[in-house]
Amino acid sequence: MELLLSISALVLTIGVLFPVTRIYRQWNTSTEAERPELEKTFYLAFAAVIIILGIRLFLVPMYFWTMQGFVPMIPGAMCLWGVFDSVPEVTWGSLLLKFVLPVVFIGWLLLSFINGKCKTHPLMQNMMAFFIAIVPLVLIDSAIDIYVFSKITPLQVSCCSDAIDVWNRPVPGVISGISGQTLIVVAFLSLAAFYTLFLFLALKRRIGHALTLVLSIPLAAVLVLTITETFTPWLLNLPFHHCPFCLFFEHPLSILFTGLLWFGLATPWLLLITNRLGRENAESKNVETQTKKSMLTYAGFSMVIALALIAVDLMMVFT
């Protein structure tokens, strides 16, 4: 299904490119008489783009789920790590894309949401331009999926513990007499707490949004380190194991808090897209502001819930 949907998305993307480009080029220069025709084309193109981006977003969890299904078929693989290692030329790069591209795709969908709330399609041209800009990403994402699932073969691969549980770890075992694992958790929780405060601050002041943008990158990096260096060994009760795929598979709650943290971290970037492309007239500015408030509130609470889940998880480890 992954392969079939990826091919569909690829074909649809190529097919929709012509009408999208036509709308983008002609919308502002068209006469009143030409606009209804362009608007009809827009509805068709819009539906196609929604389907394309819907497929791409749906295929993100599907990608991991389908890959997980290959674990028993790849000799040596004990978790997703081994499956990823069977097509290493693209899977590791695609892993980053699977977390970054949804931000872009959801950004487009947010623009379409704002446009739909306005009465005169003020964002039509911006949406089309943005889609044209992200077409290469959609094509790359689809092409990677097609490549991975057509190339995957039962090669002998190394188990995750052979590959990841090696010395030296990126975080030293002891820093100034304190456990490095503890320090990284404290750093993560502190950064995340500040980040959550900035999300709520962004509801009132513009500086809050800028701060979340700046802080989201180091927080994302610290989150990855915390997951591999601390959460995995602690939550799995395997002091020397650091494979995040094992954590997600063995401890499904970690998927939930990682997903919530992803949403919290992605929100400032989503709002950067809507801020740049979703404020064309007074009406769209108003809708964008309302959307921004809702998104920031959801993101803030996502962070709070994620941190609460982590806190409960960690308490259960130590009790």
């Binding site: 009143e32 008489a33 606009r35 209804p36 608007e39 009809k40 509805y43 739909g116 306005c118 009465k119 005169t120 399609h121």
Partner: protein, 226 residues
């Protein structure tokens, strides 16, 4: 609700050898609770004007205002919302769906509103009873007479209790008795304060109007108020 049109122009097949200029620079001002009647020879542009004012088609040029809101530049989706919530349309050729029964046709506009199936049926039966169609509710519309079909079309237009009602020659294809009944319905709607815009040739209907427009070759003559 009041409707205003400013310099409405509609040209079909623009730029082709078959270009038709159906309406030229039509400007009108229809006040709230007006019962506006449009007359003019066939092909003069009455239906085009109704469709433009009722947001069924977009003008080649010009603007339509509903309650001072410029609605002609709205997207199709928003115009659909306005039609759904504020406008009822009665077509000359009924435009009923032959595969459905009379009550199902009447209930159709409520399908896209927040109503339950039971409420939809109840409302349809109520309005059909009011319009003297109680005995015909379960008939397929194809088996109804022209007059009955037109009354079903009227019921369908009124089931959402619209604030503006457009009717395109509602009495043209019906017998005298049905025409009288339909005129009676319009009188009731006028009493209820609805804004009504009707194109007609029916002299008995013309005398009921508060405003009379004559359209000729796509141009509106000065309106007469009574």
């Amino acid at each position: 609700m009041k409707i205003r049109a400013v310099n409405l122009t509609k040209t079909y097949f623009k730029g082709s050898p078959h270009e038709v200029s159906a309406l030229r620079n039509a400007s009108i001002d229809i006040a709230e609770r007006d019962f506006c009647l449009m007359t003019g020879p066939s092909g003069s542009g009455k239906t085009t004007l109704l469709c433009l004012l009722g947001l069924l088609t977009k003008p080649t040029q010009g603007k339509v205002y509903i309650d001072d809101e410029e609605v002609s530049s709205y997207s199709d989706a928003w115009q659909t919302k306005i039609r759904k919530n504020k406008i009822g349309f009665i077509f000359q050729q009924y435009n009923l769906l032959p595969q459905f029964t009379a009550w199902e046709n009447v209930a159709l506009p409520n399908l896209c509103r927040e109503t339950t199936a039971a409420e939809r049926k109840q409302q349809a039966l109520q309005i059909m009873t009011d319009l003297g169609l109680k005995e015909r509710v379960d008939f397929k519309v194809a088996s109804l007479s022209g007059g009955e079909q037109q009354r079903v079309a009227v019921a369908r237009a009124l089931i959402t209790d619209p604030e503006i009602i457009f009717a395109d020659e509602p009495t043209a294809a019906v017998d005298e008795e049905t025409a009288t009944a339909i005129i009676g319905i319009f009188k009731d709607l006028k009493q209820k304060g609805k804004t009504i815009i009707v194109s007609t040739h029916d002299k008995s209907l013309i005398k009921e109007g508060t405003m009379h427009l004559t359209i000729n070759h796509g141009e509106i003559q000065a309106p007469i108020r009574s």
